[in-house]
């Protein structure tokens, strides 16, 4: 082990310890503290100058009150449940919209494909906030969608779409679509055409061949796409706060309001800890799926 290698490892390592791991320790610590009207607004605070005695006194004052508060107040339960529901439903919707696009791209002439890829990636590089904002003008009461629907004669009175869960779903599907399309396209593009030809030679109809060959072979991409949408949507803040209404409960929004509006740091930290615990399951499954796919590729 030479000094140079040690420095090379130490710099990014220490950076991540300091700015990633230690902050989590602090969140955990504050989630076990009590709210107080003080600066900082919680007790106990660790007094390092009191030495070991100060540390034990500090430990004895920590408790799980915030977590039992989360369990008792049904706002938090409902927020977690509705976040989960919104994430599952919007993941399935994104899959329903994204799969045909990926399929169409994989079947397009080879010389089109790079341009189609750029067209899918381009919105991803464009500001997230702007893409959500674009829907505000379309979905509002006097917005373009209502103007259009009234013009076609489908409806007489404008629909309320903005500030409802429907708007949240539209926003999520729209902004997360590239995350779904790209991994599915990657698996469909690699698909061996002779398998489909064989299936059809053996008497499958095109639809049967799709279900028996294409669908199972595209599964790794579908799973990866679903996780890439589900995981970030669970903690989403921007979409529910801009497109959702007062009835849209999502945990990211609750955490934000707990912190910025109510200034209740311990409860906000407890919400963060619970959200993290919920996320561990899909994140582990996702890592396992990626690992399996890497091994299959080798």
């Amino acid at each position: 082990m030479n000094l140079r290698r040690l420095i090379l490892i130490a710099i990014p390592y220490l950076w991540l310890l300091l700015f990633f791991l230690i902050p989590f320790g602090i969140v955990l610590k504050i989630s076990l503290s009590e709210t107080a009207i003080a600066i900082p607004p919680y007790t106990p605070t660790l007094d390092l100058s009191a030495g070991w005695q100060g540390f034990t006194a500090y430990l004895s004052e920590l408790d799980f009150d915030n977590f039992s508060f989360l369990a008792e107040d049904d706002l938090y339960w409902k927020a977690f449940l509705s976040s989960l529901t919104i994430s599952v439903v919007s993941t399935l919707l994104t899959l329903a919209v994204g799969f045909p696009i990926a399929y169409g791209m994989a079947n397009a002439p080879e010389e089109w494909r790079p341009s189609l890829m750029v067209l899918v990636i381009l919105p991803f590089w464009t500001s997230f906030l702007i893409r959500v904002y674009a829907w505000m003008g379309i979905l509002s009461q006097g917005g373009l969608l209502n103007q259009f629907l009234i013009w076609t004669g489908l409806i007489d009175t404008p629909l309320t779409i903005l500030n409802t869960n429907t708007a949240v779903y539209i926003g999520i599907v729209y902004t997360y679509l590239p995350f779904m399309v790209l991994p599915i396209y990657a698996t469909l593009e690699k698909l061996d055409n002779s398998l489909l030809e064989a299936a059809e030679d053996l008497g499958c109809s095109r639809i049967q061949a799709f279900w028996l060959v294409t669908a199972p072979l595209s599964r790794p991409g579908v799973i990866a796409g679903c996780f890439l949408v589900f995981i970030p949507v669970l903690g989403e803040f921007v979409i529910p706060s801009l497109l959702g209404g007062s009835g849209t409960l999502m945990i990211g929004k609750v955490l934000w309001e707990e912190f910025f509006t109510n200034r209740d740091w311990p409860v906000a930290s407890a919400v963060a800890v619970v959200l993290l615990l919920i996320l561990i399951i899909p994140i582990t499954l996702f890592q396992r799926n990626q690992q399996a796919q890497r091994e299959a590729d080798e």
Binding site: P12, G104, L129, Y133, F237, S269
Partner: protein
């Protein structure tokens, strides 16, 4: 049997219409003369002039640009180091923890990252402002950079590097004159990714910034919370134009690089 059936054509048409119609509408209405965003009242560029006079937006844009330049550069250096350590570092104490810390921020909800960093800055008594936002952005974008760079590092032929070492290069020289030129495209795309992530970030910046240094996304967010405004449409149009030019240029440049590489390979094969 790759063929473009009516189904595929419909899927592609509808899909891309869905992706692009909202953006096109946004751009069209930035040239609307009316203050009402949803009612067309003739062509006008006045909102662009209004925007140019809006000090608050200009200041926020300047802060955002400073933060993005500083954090993406720092993230590229740290992320490249981290990638090198992960791919070439061999075994060392706490390697699993290290790679965990590289991957975790990629899937971490922004509200949690933002909250935890803010609590850190308060705990150590660091005054919040441009500097703390730079630290926060560097931390999460260095992970994206290191993923991009490590996938390039993992696929290139290590024996070239070993040859340089055998021929008497120091490890640092070998890195500078052999490894770095080969991974340069990945490093550049990592930098671009870090830069856009920083430009785009609302949540982490809201947590970690101070009152004096508002970034552009924070300014946009607080203004659109009150509803749509033609000035924001104009601002969005400018940002969309910049991104589009950037992405198209980048894809043309990389396409040309690939073509040149292919031509060279063919020439080498012919001789």
């Amino acid at each position: 049997m790759r063929r473009l059936t009516w189904f595929n054509v419909t899927a592609l048409t509808l899909g891309f219409a869905f992706l692009y119609i909202p953006i096109v509408i946004l751009v069209i209405y930035s040239f609307n003369a009316s203050k009402l965003v949803t009612v067309w009242a003739g062509f006008s560029t006045k909102w662009y002039f209004e925007l140019m006079r809006n000090e608050a937006f200009l200041n926020a844009a300047w802060v955002t640009l400073k933060v993005a330049l500083a954090s993406s550069t720092a993230a590229t250096v740290l992320g490249t180091m981290a990638a090198y350590v992960m791919v070439r570092g061999g075994r060392f104490f706490g390697r699993t923890l290290f790679s965990g810390m590289i991957y975790a921020p990629l899937v971490m909800p922004e509200v949690i990252t933002g909250l935890s960093l803010l609590l850190l800055f308060i705990a150590v008594g660091l005054e919040r402002g441009v500097f703390t936002v730079v630290l926060a952005h560097t931390t999460f974008s260095m992970c994206f950079v290191s993923i991009v760079v490590s996938s390039r590092l993992a696929t290139f032929d290590r024996s070239i590097e070993e040859a340089a070492l055998d021929l008497g290069c120091t490890p640092f020289d070998a890195f500078r004159s052999v490894t770095l030129p080969i991974i340069a495209p990945a490093v550049i795309s990592g930098w671009l990714l870090a830069f856009t992530l920083s430009l785009d970030d609302l949540v982490i910046a809201s947590f970690t910034t101070g009152p004096a240094s508002t970034t552009l996304p924070i300014r946009i967010f607080s203004s659109i919370r009150l509803g749509v405004s033609p000035e924001i449409n104009a601002l969005s149009t400018i940002l969309i134009a910049l991104v589009t030019i950037g992405v198209i240029t980048a894809s043309l440049v990389s396409k040309r690089a690939i073509m040149r590489q292919r031509a060279e390979e063919q020439r080498a094969a012919a001789t």
